[in-house]
C-alpha cells in the first residue's frame, strides 16, 4: 500500500503532531519504505497462531483496590509547566 502525504497528514493528526509540507513529504517516503519492507510478513502462515502479548506467560497481578500513592500532589505538580491551586492549567476548552 502507498503511504502518501494524505495518510501522513491523517496519522499525524491522530498522533497530535503538526508537520510542515516538507516534513510530510519526507516522512511519507520514509514510512512508505518501512511499510514495503515489513510487507514480507504477509508470506508467513499465521493460521491458528495466537498473537503473543506477554512473554512472561503470567497473569496480571491483582492488588487490593486501595489508594497507595496518595499525598504526593506537590510532587506531581512539580514538573507541570503551568499549575494553579494544585491543578494542571490548560488552554481554555469551553467557550
Amino acid at each position: 500500500m502507498a503511504f502518501n502525504e494524505e495518510t501522513v497528514a491523517n496519522v499525524a493528526n491522530l498522533a497530535r503532531l503538526n508537520l510542515t509540507d516538507e516534513q510530510k513529504q519526507k516522512f511519507a517516503g520514509e514510512v512508505d519504505g518501512i511499510l514495503n519492507w515489513v510487507e514480507q510478513l504477509q508470506e508467513v502462515n499465521v493460521d491458528g497462531i495466537e498473537p503473543l502479548i506477554s512473554v512472561t506467560e503470567q497473569t496480571e497481578a491483582i492488588r487490593a483496590d486501595v489508594v497507595t500513592d496518595g499525598n504526593i500532589q506537590a510532587d506531581l505538580m512539580k514538573n507541570a509547566p503551568e499549575s494553579a491551586h494544585g491543578f494542571y492549567v490548560v488552554p481554555k476548552m469551553v467557550e
Binding site: T7, V11, L17, W37, V38, V44, V46, L76, N79
Partner: protein
C-alpha cells in the same frame, strides 16, 4: 600505585574491602577521567558533588564496619532513561530536557541502596530509539575506539551508547543500560565491553522512561562478565510497582561462574549465518565456536526458521507501543509546553517541537499500524509472527543449553557512513538482537575478537527464560579463553 581507572568492579571491591583504596580516591580518579574524556560526549548530566557525597558516605560506612557489599563505593553511571530523584532525566530529548523527577527508578534505587556512587547520567538515542546515539538531542557520543587515523569518528552504538563509551573509556566502572531490541548488546559489541539484557521481567521497569513496554528491559554494562553478574544481582528482583516483573528468586550469579562448561550443549543457529555476512564477524563467531569446543562444550547445529522476520515484527510492535507510550508528553505534565490557541494546538505544537525526527517517524509508523483498518494486517499479524519466533527459541532450548551468535552484523560504523543510510538500512543493525528481545530470553554480549581494522567484535550468548546463570557461566569461560584486551587507547588528556 594501582591504576584505579583500569580496575574491574570485582577487583576494586577487594581493594576497598582490604581498605587499600578508598571510594573517595576511586571516585576522584573517575571524575578526573570524565574531564579528560569530555570529547566523547558520553554524559548528558555530570553529578560530581553527588558522587563525592556518595563516596564519603561509603567510606564512612566501611570505617564503621557497615559496608553494604561488593558494590559499596563503586562509581557508576546511569543511562539517562532511568528516573533519578532530583537529578535531571532527559531521555536525550528536547521535550524532557528540563524534567527533574521527584522519584527514583526501582533499578537505580537498588543500586543506590547497595552503596554505589553515581557519577552522572549518560547519553542515549532519543527515547532509546536508535543504534548510534545520533538521535540524541544532546549530540552524539563518540566511540573511544578510534578510526585508522586515530580520530573519534565512530559511533559507540546505541541506544545505550553513552553507557558503553563511558565504560570502555574508563570514565566509570559500570553503567546501567536498557535494551528493547539490542540497545545493550550492540553498543557493548561496538565498544568492546560486556553487557547483558536479562530475561524480560527480571528487572523492574518502574521509573524507566518507557519506549516499548513489552520489550524494554534493564541491564548492566561493565568490563567483565563477573562485573555484570555482580551488578545484575543487585539490579534484578520482583517489584510490585511493575506488573510485568516476575516474582521469582534472583540467584547468586557470581557463584555460577564455575569455569566448567564441559558437556554443555551450545546451539549455532544456521539462519544467523546470512548471505554477504561481514567476514570479520563470521571469523570471530567461528573463533567463539572453537573456544567453546576446546572448553569441552558440545556444539549443536540448530535451525530457527523465523529469524528473518524478527526485524519487521520488532519495528511494528516497538513503534506501536512507542506511539502509545509517548502520548503522555502532552505539554501538561512534563515541563515543556509550546502554547497554542486551543488545547489540541498546544498538544501539537509541544510534541512537534519536542520530538526529534526518528521519534516522529516511529510515532507515525506506530500510530498507523494501530489505526482502524490496518490494525489486524500489521499489528496483530506481527504479534502472531512474534509467537512463532518465541517458539523457535522454545524448540531450540529443548536440545541446547545456550545459543551462540554474533551481537552485531558489523564492527562500529562511522558517523559519516551512517549519514547516508535510509531508516531501513539502519534498522538492519539490530538483525541479531531483535529475535531474543521478542522472545524475552536473556542474552549477554561480550568482546571476543577484533576486526581487520582493529575494532572490537562481540558475540552474544542467549539462554533460556530466567537462566542467566548458564549465560554467565558460558560467557565467563569464553571471556577467559578469548583473552580480549579490553581497553581502547586511553582518552587523550
Amino acid at each position: 600505585m594501582t591504576d584505579l581507572i583500569n580496575l574491574h568492579i570485582s577487583e576494586a571491591a577487594d581493594l576497598l574491602a582490604k581498605k587499600e583504596i578508598s571510594s573517595v580516591e576511586l571516585t576522584q580518579a573517575h571524575l578526573s577521567e570524565m574531564e579528560k574524556g569530555c570529547v566523547l560526549n558520553a554524559f548528558i548530566t555530570e553529578t560530581p558533588e553527588r558522587a563525592m557525597a556518595d563516596a564519603e558516605a561509603s567510606d564512612k560506612r566501611r570505617a564503621n564496619g557497615e559496608s553494604f557489599g561488593a558494590l559499596d563505593g563503586i562509581p557508576i553511571a546511569n543511562k539517562d532513561l532511568y528516573c533519578t530523584k532530583d537529578v535531571r532525566t532527559t531521555a536525550a530529548s528536547k521535550i524532557l530536557s528540563k524534567f527533574v523527577p521527584t522519584y527514583e527508578s526501582t533499578v537505580t534505587q537498588n543500586l543506590k541502596d547497595a552503596g554505589t556512587v553515581m557519577l552522572g547520567k549518560v547519553n542515549t538515542d532519543q527515547f532509546a530509539m536508535g543504534g548510534s546515539t545520533r538521535t540524541s538531542y544532546f549530540g552524539e557520543s563518540k566511540n573511544p575506539w578510534t578510526d585508522a587515523n586515530g580520530e573519534y569518528t565512530l559511533t559507540p552504538g546505541g541506544s545505550s551508547g553513552g553507557s558503553a563509551a563511558a565504560v570502555a573509556a574508563g570514565l566509570c566502572m559500570g553503567a546501567t543500560g536498557s535494551d528493547t531490541g539490542g540497545s545493550i548488546r550492540q553498543p557493548a559489541s561496538f565498544c568492546g565491553i560486556t553487557g547483558i539484557k536479562p530475561t524480560y521481567g527480571r528487572c523492574s521497569r518502574w521509573g524507566i522512561v518507557a519506549f516499548a513496554s513489552s520489550l524494554d528491559q534493564a541491564g548492566p554494562m561493565a568490563r567483565s562478565v563477573k562485573d555484570c553478574a555482580i551488578m545484575l544481582e543487585t539490579m534484578a528482583g520482583y517489584d510490585k510497582k511493575d506488573s510485568t516483573s516476575v516474582n521469582t528468586p534472583v540467584p547468586n550469579y557470581v557463584s555460577a561462574l564455575t569455569g566448567d562448561i564441559r558437556g554443555k550443549k551450545i546451539g549455532i543457529p544456521k539462519e544467523y549465518r546470512m548471505d554477504g555476512m561481514n567476514e570479520d564477524v563470521a571469523k570471530v563467531w567461528d573463533k567463539g565456536i572453537q573456544l567453546l569446543k576446546d572448553a569441552g562444550a558440545e556444539i549443536v547445529d540448530i535451525s530457527m526458521p523465523h529469524t528473518k522476520y524478527a526485524l519487521p515484527v520488532y519495528y511494528i510492535i516497538a513503534c506501536a507501543e512507542a506511539s502509545s507510550n509517548l502520548s503522555r508528553y502532552d505539554g501538561v505534565r512534563y515541563t515543556t509546553r509550546v502554547e497554542g490557541a486551543t488545547l489540541d494546538d498546544m498538544y501539537k505544537n509541544t510534541r512537534t517541537d519536542g520530538f526529534g525526527d526518528e521519534v516522529i517517524r516511529r510515532i507515525l509508523l506506530g500510530t498507523f499500524v494501530l489505526s482502524a483498518g490496518f490494525y489486524d494486517a500489521y499489528y496483530t499479524r506481527a504479534q502472531r509472527v512474534r509467537r512463532l519466533i518465541a517458539e523457535d527459541f522454545k524448540k531450540a532450548f529443548e536440545t541446547v543449553d545456550a545459543i551462540l551468535a554474533p551481537a552485531a552484523p558489523t564492527p562500529a560504523l562511522s558517523f559519516a557512513d551512517m549519514a547516508n543510510m535510509d531508516p531501513v538500512s539502519t534498522y538492519l543493525g539490530d538483525v541479531f538482537t531483535t529475535p531474543s528481545s521478542l522472545a524475552g530470553v536473556p542474552s549477554l554480549a561480550l568482546p571476543v575478537g577484533m576486526s581487520s581494522g582493529g575494532l572490537p567484535i562481540g558475540l552474544q550468548i542467549i539462554g533460556k527464560h530466567f537462566d542467566e546463570n548458564t549465560v554467565f557461566q558460558v560467557a565467563d569461560v569464553m571471556e577467559k579463553s578469548a583473552g580480549f584486551n579490553l581497553m581502547p587507547h586511553r582518552v587523550k588528556g
